[in-house]
Symmetry: C2
Subunit: 220 residues, 2 copies
DNA sequence: CAGGACCGTGACACAACGTCAACTTTTGCG
DNA sequence: CGCAAAAGTTGACGTTGTGTCACGGTCCTG
């Protein structure tokens, strides 16, 4: 009786054992999946590979996820869930277009740099192939950006742009430049954000002067 | 003897029967794959599904491709092979930055609109997931863009920009805006290209005024 | 402490994978 | 033209992955 009372009143659950293992199992699976995806690549990984990297039985896996796609989604969503509020907040407090833009890009690129392990490993697949997957949570993040643009426009911050296309452009630049940034040692989040911000603020002619080539001298 | 002589001299092969069916089988597989990918989505498709959509035996499939990934690659590469020269030519004859930029985007968006069947179906997977895959031929296209930017810079056309990041930014905008364009009925290649060009020429403030929201009033 | 709810377990039936020995068709050559 | 070697196709097969479910153990509730 006391136990129940305490549990219901306490803000942080002492957690029944049942619930505890549920959280733990989910975590075990996601951790294992991260390792396996990183090692084999997303495409080559099978549900069985993930299960084997876990102390659990195959049936248990299916109590938590329907497929490897769902596991992948969950991993991506975890990242998206961590960064989405930061991005939104950054834009909410922006007083100028430039703050809106640079805040968004800098936050994103810094996150990517920290989160490199997830971001990069999960995008590397077999061979030279590169797979990108937009999960519901990520799509929600895009939609939030669009709405933030609309809101900024209504506040008179932005000119009356096509919010849908502008959102798409920002998303495209963010992901593609982030990827390049990770492959280069001579450019970090600050430089990437400066580049993207200058592009959106004034176009090509406003871009900071940079080395003309890329970092990769070799390659095909 | 005559046969051999004719074959070796003639520029267009009368084609041995062997070689003929080889081309045909490859085509059969790719056509079947296009249909199956479009119907089931890339992720859900199995090699067996593709084979079943073909009059061939399973062993034959493996004479042509190692996996569904390779089939997918071949399909993508076919598209890339069609558009790459057009893009390069467009940029080669550009006398100003604006021609370079708008030529690239307009050509790309027009291609996407024509090629919609391939472009869209192949990117739709199960549920709301969206998969993008960069094949060697596509990567080569990116590299070509980078080199064209370097060349344009050396001709004094471009300011001394970071060609690597600029290439990434253009690629990101191209793909992401293309995707949006396809989902909207109120914007075609011309509008999409105008948008992207204005963005790169002068940043947000130079963008054409557009409806602020997107086309999709509903959604999540 | 008992009974029930909950959930982990691994064996199972089924489907997909990639291979290979046997077979068929084409080609090169006398 | 005919024949032997080369090339290519076929589908059955062993193997591996898939998703389910009846069983059994553990935790919760009263």
């Amino acid at each position: 009786m006391d136990a129940e009372l305490v549990r219901s009143l306490s803000p942080r659950r002492p957690a029944g054992k049942r619930e505890q293992t549920k959280v733990q199992n989910r975590h075990l699976i996601l951790e294992a999946a991260r390792r396996v995806f990183a090692e084999l690549g997303y495409g080559a990984t099978t549900v069985r590979d993930i299960i084997r990297a876990t102390p659990l039985a195959s049936g248990t896996f299916y109590n938590y996820f329907k497929s490897k796609e769902e596991v992948f989604q969950a991993i991506q969503d975890e990242s998206a869930l961590r960064i989405r509020p930061r991005l939104h907040e950054e834009r909410a407090k922006a007083a100028t277009i430039e703050e809106f833009i640079s805040g968004t890009f800098l936050t994103f690129f810094e996150f990517v740099a920290e989160d490199q392990a997830n971001f990069r490993a999960l995008r590397r697949s077999t061979d030279a192939l590169h797979v990108r997957m937009d999960t519901p949570e990520i799509i929600a993040g895009f939609e939030e950006l669009r709405q933030d643009i609309v809101a900024a426009t209504e506040k008179g911050l932005f000119p009356p742009v096509d919010a849908d296309f502008l959102m798409a452009a920002m998303v495209g630049v963010a992901f593609e430049v982030a990827e390049r940034m990770l492959r280069r040692s001579d450019r970090g989040p600050a430089e990437a954000a400066a580049f993207a911000t200058a592009l959106f603020m004034g176009g090509i002619n406003a871009l900071p002067a940079g080395r003309m080539g890329g970092a990769n001298g070799g390659g095909a």
